[in-house]
Subunit: 345 residues, 2 copies
């Protein structure tokens, strides 16, 4: 597979991005197109001695920063002649010159560029970002976690279909259990969106197990949790914030404690480090932006080389799985009526 990778994406670009690309090319044999300012990227790549690895730099004179937003961003996203590393990368996918695009850059910018330059899959109205969360039993794909703060019930159905196909075909979960994230499991609970989407999902072909609260997600009772981008973002950010608060509190408590507790702290340090690693989303690489007409993966700005490498691997897996065609087919299968109420395409 040929993966286009934004060399200017991560907070510490281009080091983690280029290092991750080299590792992915070396370990998995994937071809990587490194997109970025040649003057900046080339010396970093050379230092890593790529030898005969299938890595090539594609020059991009501009880059999008974390500050990019609003109208200025929309104009850059739509520029006819692509100049930014993100636009060039997305266009490679559009033109069939790459199988997927991966970036660790500004999520909003990447989503806008993908949306404007690739368009949507027919019958899908809104894109959704679908990261993987650690649970007590493995993982759960949660979508949308931040692209669409305001949606319609039908969009939740689209998210459920796309999330289930991604989880089955790329993450290897047979007939994944799908649920709507809600404020309670009983019928009648949920906001307007959840209440309207529940019967649509019950009537559909997915393995829909009903509505779940956040505790079921973390307990591993569900493989795909579906929600709007506002609630999903609150879910993501609360989880991250509480995890950080607790691990910080443990550190503080131990540091300011008596000698025996301090010694205990030293002894349990490896166990705590394991947990912190498990909770670290960068381990998972990047999340797919589902629904756009082309494979795009977006990772955390603070990703290290290992996360970049893992993102390239997952993007290649997604390309091999034929996931996009499966989504296309499933949406078409639902018939013109569903497609009409659900889509703009």
């Amino acid at each position: 597979m040929k993966i286009a990778l934004d060399a200017m994406g991560s907070d510490n670009f281009p080091q983690p991005d280029v290092e991750g690309a080299v590792a992915a090319a070396r370990e998995y044999g994937e071809e990587v197109l490194l997109i970025g300012d040649e003057k900046i990227v080339s010396p970093v790549l050379e230092k890593l001695k790529p030898g005969n690895l299938p890595i090539r730099i594609i020059h991009a004179p501009e880059m999008l920063t974390m500050e990019e937003k609003g109208l200025a961003l929309a104009l850059k996203a739509k520029q006819k002649e692509p100049k930014t590393s993100m636009a060039i990368g997305v266009d490679l996918v559009k033109e069939g010159k790459a199988d997927a695009f991966v970036t660790m850059g500004n999520t909003g910018a990447a989503a806008a560029i993908a949306f404007f330059r690739l368009g949507m899959l027919p019958g899908i109205e809104r894109p959704a970002l679908a990261p993987v969360f650690p649970t007590r039993k493995g993982f759960c794909v949660v979508l949308d976690i931040g692209i669409n703060p305001d949606i319609r019930p039908q969009n939740l159905v689209e998210f459920a279909i796309m999330g289930a196909i991604y989880t089955e075909s790329v993450r290897g979960v047979k007939r994944p259990r799908v649920a709507l994230l809600s404020n309670g499991e009983e019928t009648g609970k949920g906001n307007f969106l959840v209440r309207e989407a529940t019967p649509l999902l019950k009537a559909g072909p997915l393995n829909f197990i009903g509505n779940v609260e956040p505790k079921e997600v973390f307990a591993g009772a569900v493989d795909v949790a579906v929600t709007d981008g506002f609630s999903g973002n609150i879910f993501l950010k609360s989880s991250e914030a509480v995890a950080k608060m607790i691990t910080d509190m443990i550190k503080d408590k131990i540091q300011s404690a008596s000698l025996p507790v301090k010694i205990g702290g030293l002894l349990v340090r490896p166990a705590l480090a394991d947990i912190r690693k498990m909770l670290n989303p960068s381990e998972e690489g990047a999340a797919p932006l589902l629904g756009v007409d082309g494979l795009v993966f977006i990772g955390h700005g603070r990703s290290d080389a290992r996360a970049v490498q893992s993102a390239v691997r997952v993007a290649a897996q997604a390309a091999r799985s034929g996931m996009q065609d499966l989504i296309r087919r499933e949406i078409a299968r639902r018939g013109p009526d569903d497609a009409k109420t659900g889509g703009v395409g």
Copy 2:
């Protein structure tokens, strides 16, 4: 102050409820009206030797369970002659025979009963449940965390006013910092509700500091975080679930580890217990149901006697503070136009 307390509220009723009542009467001198089945409550109270403490049992032939919901609940909530401990307790407040009602029972049932029997304060359209969250620097009041899954922007403004008055007059925070919970701090972020409510709050008299993400709540950057009941519930439940997952993971890790780590685990146990206690919402007693025309506090079903005692104390504080009148006055001060767009009263 005279506090009506549901003796049949907690999961382990009536023991924690009655024990908490006795402790509150003894330590703070508050008068407690214990409402419940006399045959059940009386022996428990007698065992605790209340002597001359200002505690009195008021018989209630029925109780509402955790299973109560829907139409059956609505009918019970509206019953003319109150029979359940919740309805009798709420009616005592309505008739001025108690200054506040406290229950550790079914949140939905308590909210429905309070709403139907007390009605709303003039100019307030929706009630909001406002618990206190632990933060790195102290606490933050978050509302609504589950009563109203679907609201209008104006309701967020009402929640902000009520939350600020409660936090200042009962929790003792001078000119509390108020923020909307959102998926980002920048202007333009947020869902429809947040985007519409932001200018209304900016133009108002509160110490509105803008929009915050969950991490700012836990960092202690804000005293009152305002949100709709659906997102607020996701926030609450994600936080609880992640806290539980991490403390469980730490326990598992240590138990299955090598001897030195196990010894370390024993040594850090007090520090972990402190943290678990800090994260335990039952320490905070109960949350006010703001907006109804009478003071009602609702706590966790799993509350122990200490949580019940603390709830009685906070309810008495709220009654003494004149909080309800402060809310009434602030809503009236906003003028008939605001009151009209914001209220049903």
